[in-house]
């Protein structure tokens, strides 16, 4: 009964024609969104003669793994082993994600749940930081990095990612909806503020962790080192493969193979965490 009831409710104020044209529109634009990804996936499995066929095709006819083999051998020619580039990307992303989730949560908790002098100004500055892109600060950042001796190390990419403002903002908004009573009760039970953070609040904001993780993934997984990394053995997968793709037209298949590898990880991650991310985003609004 419940189901039929809710189905009927959905139909309120919805005309058939309206529905039809809306969803047709959605389907067309959806196809446009998906097309490049579908093309990349197919091209990754195309043999060279199929990539350069006229008229071009979207879907692969004789799938092959030759592009992946070529990729491995191309990267094998470089004096740094292929796995090193993968390690670099995974290390930068992993460290950045863990550090950011910990630091941003620790900072978000007091901002969300305590009243203390300076709270308002700190949060205002974080919100202001959402309003400009990181490119603005690239030059002074380089000077600071070189002063700290972090140029050409992983840390030049990892450490600034710890203090990514969007993550703190979303975490703080999400933490605000944790009932004060829960925190109050633990305090009466004698838990210290640090303990409340670690054992009461953190387990309750798991959806927000997932959101921060995916945002940091977006930031770090495809990074080329932001101009800070130039030692061959420290370069990321994205950086190294770009050098290959620049090699010319015959590398198109290899490029598609790289694209497939690069995109599959964050997309898979999102598939499994979608509902939790949406839950976090529900609290993302800006109140004044």
């Amino acid at each position: 009964m419940n189901i039929s009831f809710s189905l009927r409710k959905k139909k309120v104020n919805r005309s058939f024609f309206g529905n039809f044209s809306m969803f047709a529109f959605l389907a067309i634009v959806g196809a446009f969104m998906a097309l490049p990804l579908v093309y990349a996936i197919n091209a990754a499995f195309k043999p060279l003669d199929e990539i350069f066929i006229f008229p071009p095709t979207l879907f692969v006819r004789n799938p092959t793994l030759i592009n992946f083999i070529d990729l491995a051998s191309l990267l094998g020619n470089s004096w740094v082993p292929f796995t090193r580039y993968i390690f670099n990307t995974v290390f930068i992303t992993g460290m950045g994600v863990v550090g950011h989730v910990l630091l941003a949560s620790a900072a978000a908790f007091p901002l969300a749940k305590y009243h203390f002098p300076g709270k308002k100004i700190m949060f205002t500055i974080v919100v202001l930081a959402l309003m400009f892109a990181p490119q603005v600060t690239a030059i002074p950042n380089y000077m600071i990095m070189s002063r700290l001796g972090m140029v050409d190390t992983y840390w030049a990419v990892i450490v600034p990612a710890f203090a990514f403002p969007l993550g703190l903002y979303l975490m703080k908004q999400f933490m605000e909806q944790i009932p004060d009573a829960l925190i109050e009760a633990s305090r009466i039970d004698g838990a210290s503020d640090y303990r409340i953070f670690w054992q009461v609040v953190m387990p309750n904001v798991k959806p927000a962790w997932m959101t921060l993780i995916i945002l940091l993934f977006q930031l770090l997984w495809g990074t080329d080192g932001n101009g800070f990394i130039y030692s061959e053995e420290l370069k990321t997968l994205h950086f190294a493969t770009n050098q290959i793709i620049q090699g010319g037209i015959a590398r198109a298949g290899v490029g598609a193979a790289v694209a497939l590898i690069l995109m599959s990880v964050p997309i898979t991650l999102f598939v499994f965490s979608q509902s939790r991310i949406i839950e976090t985003m529900a609290t993302s609004g800006m109140k004044d």
Binding site: M33, A40, A106, I144, V159, W221, H238, L262, M286
Partner: protein
């Protein structure tokens, strides 16, 4: 008791004072700070890094913009010279500003509306389909900077997908050098930028739509709301104001920072600077010519432009729906 209170308001005693008495503003603050020591401890690591890599660079950028600085000699104060040179002598900067504003004026509002419209249509779907369509629209923005795929699509020979299909359908006779022709470059960058733009803002809207109180729609139907458009205007949009404001910040900020796509697709520098943006101009002076003072002036202009526009838009959105 109050007698005692009036006599001493030394901060030292005020700190321990559990007794209610008039205190100076500062001693009150101090007391609050002491009581919340743990809050500062928890904030410290993040705020230290945030200050170091976000706040300090903005301040430095503003200061350096008033100097001549080449990374070798000590910066020399030159007043407004960088700015006057930027606006009066640097023709390419004006092209960059024009392109940036064009990108921002098109991709900003368009991507914002697109984020909302698609989130809104998707919200009407059944949950499984909704999750799938969310993935389809969101996937480009998280797929790890793979916009070089577009380079293959718009490749200038007949094997590029765009040329290939257009020739096969008889619309074109000759392949077009898409990324080498000024008039197409801007359009293609805008297209790719839009493709990439359904990101965090889009998710915020999807989430916001799901939190709108369902009973409001029923009440609205009773009160005479006739179609989906009225429903959207009178119920959905006002209920989502906080998410709408958040989404605006995210979309606007990215729309001003177009650079990576431009560099990848159009090259750096692009043909006749057709795809030069403020950010690529900044990179030119900052990372190639090492004119740090001048580059910082560019960065400061960009910063002002981004934050200023955001604050104005926030003010406007606050008024929507009363």
């Amino acid at each position: 008791m109050s007698e005692v209170a009036i006599k001493d308001i030394t901060p030292g005693k005020a700190e321990m004072g559990k007794t209610r008495r008039p205190q100076s503003w500062w001693s009150l603050k101090k007391e609050a700070m002491k009581a919340n020591k743990h809050a500062y401890v928890m904030l410290a690591p993040y705020m230290l890094l945030f200050g170091l890599f976000t706040v300090l660079p903005v301040v430095m950028s503003v200061l350096i913009s008033f100097t001549y600085f080449n990374m070798l000699e000590f910066p020399r104060f030159i007043g407004w010279q960088n700015y006057s040179r930027l606006f009066l002598e640097d023709d390419i900067f004006l092209i960059a500003v024009k392109n940036t504003l064009l990108f921002a004026a098109i991709t900003g509002p368009l991507s914002y509306v697109a984020c909302f419209v698609f989130a809104w249509i998707i919200n009407d779907l059944r949950p499984k389909l909704r999750a799938f369509m969310t993935l389809v629209f969101y996937a480009p923005s998280i797929s790890g900077n793979i916009y070089f795929i577009w380079q293959m699509i718009f490749s200038g020979d007949r094997y590029g997908i765009a040329n290939g299909f257009l020739i096969r359908w008889g619309i074109l006779l000759e392949p077009i050098q898409w990324l080498k022709t000024e008039i197409y470059i801007l359009a293609i960058i805008i297209l790719v930028q839009l493709w990439l733009s359904l990101g965090t803002g889009f998710l915020a809207f999807i989430a916001g739509l799901q939190t709108v109180d369902k009973t409001l729609y029923e009440a609205g139907a009773v009160d005479g709301i006739k179609n989906r458009w009225q429903e959207l205007w009178y119920i959905t949009l006002p209920s989502m104001k906080p998410q709408l404001m958040f989404g605006a910040v995210i979309q606007l900020t990215t729309s001003f920072a177009v650079a990576d796509v431009s560099i990848y697709l159009a090259g750096f520098p692009s043909v006749n600077y057709a795809a030069e943006t403020i950010v690529t101009h900044l990179m030119d002076f900052g990372t190639i010519r090492f004119e740090m003072g001048f580059a910082s002036a560019i960065a400061t202009v960009l910063f002002t432009l981004m934050v200023g526009t955001n604050l104005i838009v926030q003010r406007m959105l606050r008024k929507v729906g009363g």
